[in-house]
């Protein structure tokens, strides 16, 4: 076996990354394992990207307790780690008189969960603050503490901060077994060899039940629940100012209409259980349901300027609650499972709660003296003024070459995304870090350039460059050396 770690965390989604970030402040050797080629490629990359205020979940559930705490913590954490976050507030909009009792129930639940500053607002307020909202809108629950966040950037920022504080991240490392000796966890077996550890945290998302079964835990059962979405170009001229929900049903918060942090309008999700944990296909019916749902809230909304459809899978446990607990049968094994909505909003609180459990299990949490609290802000050219851009280019000419024209992403940003901590290895990993390819042309223009830069920086052939996971190579084979051919001159 290799070196022995104090804690191994299985899965680098938002939960695993948050646990790594939380633990990295202590004197611990931490290893974060991820089976895919990047962090945040599962549920974390495909969801509604909301920091819920916390009025939905029952106060007696973990969801209810951790959501509000996570929501409060994110204000400070997002500043320290430079995670794009906007506290734009949410509205649950009632369109019929019947909806009013549900709105009132949510308000009461919010009070119990200690959600701050909620108000029930009337039609006039709505028409003033959401001018495009349905004329049928009667009343709404306004929760100003809700916000929108970039989920993969949140996970990445936490992973990078953990690495800055000494944690290790191993990508493309799939756990095949959890090693147990005399009722105590001793490590994991992976496709990249065995790793020894005193504690193992199971944050494997959709696969958390399969990992739990490796130590004989049968009670966790994860059902993939699909959510489909449309996303619009940020140039779309349609005003939506809050995270806007319809009144919820018992199983779903309904089709949401919201701007993202980067001002792309997002509509969705559906909520349907599916058989396969890899079924990420959008469907004709699902997309129709999304659009019809969005139109109930915003009748004038059309599908012009949509740039992508996508689907994500929520990891729903049978209990419909987070399952965060130490295993009863195996010492040192902690499950962080069933993290569906509001998992993103709760992530820092989930991490804190997990750290407490590990402590109870005997892990010693002594704070590092030289703990680095912050993550340096990545340069985001697209949100800079021309004066700021001019300054950046003066400092480094590599900022002067724009690779992604739709999202104004420079060559230097792409180099940094590849060569920085927890660097990008795939085209989609570059997209998540820089937004190159996330715009209206969907990588039509910058795709070939990003492939070329990845190949050059990673020292591989362009035909080996992948879009995301598995066999997702983009190019088949090289035809011939073309005389004078040159994608770009970086000399």
């Amino acid at each position: 076996m290799n070196k022995k770690y104090d804690v191994i965390i299985i899965g680098a989604g938002i939960s695993g990354c948050a646990v790594a970030w939380k633990l990295a402040r202590y004197n611990l050797d931490i290893l974060l394992l991820e089976k895919e080629a990047d962090v945040a490629t599962g549920t974390t990359k495909a969801n509604t990207a909301i920091m819920h205020a916390g009025y939905n979940a029952d106060p007696d559930k973990l969801k209810g307790r951790l959501n509000v705490k996570g929501n409060e913590e994110i204000r400070e954490v997002s500043k320290k780690l430079n995670i794009p976050y906007k506290e734009i507030g949410s509205l649950v909009v009632g369109l019929e008189d019947d909806d009013l009792s549900v709105i009132d129930e949510l308000y009461q639940k919010g009070l119990k969960n200690n959600v701050k500053n909620m108000e029930i607002v009337d039609r006039e307020w709505l028409l003033e603050h959401e001018p495009n909202i349905s004329k049928k809108a009667v009343k709404a629950l306004w929760a100003p503490t809700a916000g929108v966040i970039t989920p993969w950037e949140a996970a990445l920022a936490m992973a990078q901060n953990a690495v800055a504080n000494g944690a290790e991240v191993k990508l493309e490392t799939a756990v095949e077994d959890v090693l147990v000796d005399e009722g105590r966890v001793i490590g994991v077996k992976t496709n990249q060899g065995d790793f020894a550890a005193d504690y193992v945290v199971n944050a494997a998302g959709l696969y958390a039940d399969e990992i739990a079964r490796m130590v004989g835990i049968e009670k966790i059962n994860i059902t993939p629940r699909k959510g489909e979405y449309y996303i619009y170009d940020h140039a779309k001229d349609f005003e939506v100012n809050h995270v806007v929900f319809p009144v919820p049903t018992p199983i779903s918060k309904g089709i949401v209409v919201t701007p993202t942090v980067e001002n792309n309008l997002l509509i969705g999700p559906t909520s349907h259980n599916v058989e396969s944990k890899t079924d990420l296909a959008t469907t004709r019916e699902g997309l129709k349901e999304v659009y019809n749902g969005a139109k109930k809230l915003y009748p004038e909304l059309d599908l012009r300027d949509t740039i992508r459809v996508f689907a994500g899978l929520r990891a729903a446990d049978d209990t419909e609650d987070f399952v965060i607990e130490a295993a009863e049968n195996v010492k040192g094994f902690v499950n962080v499972a069933g993290i569906q909505s509001p998992g993103l909003a709760s992530s820092t609180a989930i991490a804190g709660y997990t750290a407490d459990i590990l402590k109870d299990e005997g892990l010693i949490l002594s704070e590092k003296k030289d703990f680095i609290e912050t993550r340096e802000e990545p340069v985001r050219f697209y949100e800079m003024s021309n004066t700021e851009r001019a300054k950046m280019v003066d400092q480094n000419k590599d900022y002067g070459q724009i690779i992604c024209r739709c999202e104004t992403v420079s060559y230097k940003e792409i180099l940094d995304a590849i060569n920085g901590p927890v660097g990008a290895r795939t085209v989609n990993a570059v997209k998540r870090r820089t937004r190159a390819g996330a715009g209206r042309c969907q990588g039509g223009f910058c795709g070939p350039r990003v492939v070329d830069i990845l190949a050059e920086q990673l020292g591989i052939d362009p035909t080996e460059v992948k879009q995301e996971e598995g066999n997702s190579q983009i190019l088949e084979y090289k035809i011939k050396e073309l005389l004078g051919s040159r994608v770009m001159n970086n000399a």
Binding site: Y230, A235, T278, L280, A281, T282, T283, R284, G286, L287, L303, T306, I307, R308, V309, N386, T387, R389, A390, V393, D394, K397, D398, Y399, G400, Q401, I402, R405, C406, R440, C441, G443, G444, F445, G447, P448, D452, P462, T463, K466, Q467, E468, E469, G470, N471, S472, Q473, I474, L475, E476, Y477, K478, I479, K480, E481, L482, S485, R486, V487, M488
Partner: protein, 426 residues
């Protein structure tokens, strides 16, 4: 920040920008700068290595690179400043252009006139919302063309093409020539979106099936594309579930429309036409913003580069006139309207001084395929004259000149309308 002043700044060094710059220079504007974001001039033409370019403009058949090279030579022979690898970030309505490149850093260029010639982009899979997964191997036909002809990589072996736009047709043949199995070109509509000659030379000559009234109803595969499901559509263009069949493929190329790239134009408050996706212009190709002109595919999507050249010469000439202060508007404006079966007409308005009106070609597209048509021009509701054509197709642009007599009377007109009608009894 480097600050410079220029008489004319041309944004985009494709066929539109090159022709506009050349014409303005020849009309006496010697202080011209072309800003090009790619590493070479020519726009999309260098990757269009097939022939068929220049039949109208040069009266000979050229490849895309050859057509581009003639204009690049013209530019090099003149004292026109070209900045390559230079991205324009902003254009203001008082004609300040902000751009960046690696060598000089950030540039602010104050221009007397600006020609917008940024071209267009392709509609993507996401934009049309094809259901299914999002594997590698689903790309636009133009991106595949760049990979194949510029970078030298084949994007796949088993190919299905959705959409029968010209780039899709050209790439069907191109992939076949590289040894790929091109299984079908699916077109949602009952007719092709591309030129007739491309259907014949790229599909029929290579036995590539063209499936009209068909669309892709699902994309399958987790890493790389594994298959596509295609279905026939009914008369309302809705897929018929019973007709669905799965075709094994590792590559799906999309040729489902082109969108003029007007993000910069919007920053300068240029007003766009909903139908073309490009600016609303007068016969000099001037937008609603004084001194800002537009030509080529940024204005409306063309079928042939020859028409891009013709239009860009008009824009270049008028930009030159504008810079020389030789540009009086009548103050009156005749609107040009698209009538029955016409999806749009360029220019949308006629408003310059009467001395200018030697020849005003109207460019238009028909909204549905028709055979044996009359193209009728009306002035304030009164029929002026007609042209007959054996057929009219949405994929092929129609150019109709406004006659001198109309032009002479123009100051008194408020509306010119064109309709295209099938002849009765045929």
């Amino acid at each position: 920040m480097l600050k410079v002043k220029k008489d004319l700044v041309v944004i985009g060094g494709g066929p539109a920008g090159l022709a506009a710059a050349k014409t303005a220079y020849d009309d006496g504007i010697n202080d011209v700068m072309i800003l090009e974001r790619d590493f070479e001039l020519g726009g999309i033409l260098p990757q269009c290595i097939h022939n068929g370019f220049g039949l109208h403009h040069f009266k000979e058949e050229l490849t895309g690179p050859e057509y581009a090279q003639r204009f690049i030579n013209d530019i090099e022979e003149r004292d026109i400043e070209v900045k390559l690898d230079t991205m324009v970030l902003d254009v203001t309505k008082d004609r300040k252009v902000y751009a960046m490149n690696k060598k000089e850093g950030f540039l602010e260029i104050e221009a007397k006139a600006v020609v917008l010639a940024m071209g267009c982009r392709e509609r993507t899979a996401g934009a049309i919302g094809i259901p299914g997964t999002r594997p590698a191997g689903v790309i636009t036909a133009g991106t595949a063309q760049r990979y194949t002809n510029i970078e030298g990589f084949v994007p796949g072996d088993e190919v299905v093409i959705l959409g029968s736009g010209d780039i899709g047709l050209i790439m069907a043949r191109r992939m076949k020539l590289e040894g790929a199995d091109v299984k079908a070109v699916c077109e949602l509509l009952p007719y092709t979106g591309g030129l007739t000659r491309n259907v014949v030379q790229c599909l029929e000559d290579y036995d590539i099936p063209l499936m009209l009234n068909h669309t892709v109803t699902a994309i399958k595969g987790e890493g790389r594309l594994e298959a596509v499901e295609i279905s026939e559509v009914d008369e309302n263009l809705k897929p018929i579930p019973e007709t669905a069949k799965t075709i094994k493929a590792d590559t799906l190329l999309l040729s489902v429309g082109l969108i003029p790239e007007n993000e910069l134009s919007k920053k300068a408050d240029v007003i766009l036409d909903d139908r073309t996706g490009g600016p609303i212009v007068n016969e000099g190709r001037e937008t609603n913003i004084e001194g800002i002109f537009a030509c080529g595919n940024v204005l409306h999507v063309h079928d042939l580069v020859d028409w891009v050249t013709e239009e860009s010469q008009i824009a270049g000439a008028h930009a030159a006139k504008y810079i020389k202060d030789n540009f009086e508007k009548t103050g009156k404006c005749a609107e040009v309207k698209a009538g029955e079966n016409v999806s749009y007409v360029i220019p949308q308005k006629i408003e310059l001084e009467s001395g200018d009106r030697k020849r005003i070609p109207l460019y238009m597209r028909v909204s549905t395929p028709l055979t044996a048509v009359d193209i009728n021009l009306y002035a304030d509701g009164e029929k002026l004259y007609s042209f007959s054509e054996p057929f009219a197709k949405p994929g092929e642009m129609i150019s109709v000149p406004l006659a001198q007599k109309t032009l002479d009377d123009l100051d008194n007109l408020s509306e010119i309308k064109v309709d295209i009608i099938e002849k009765e009894g045929e």
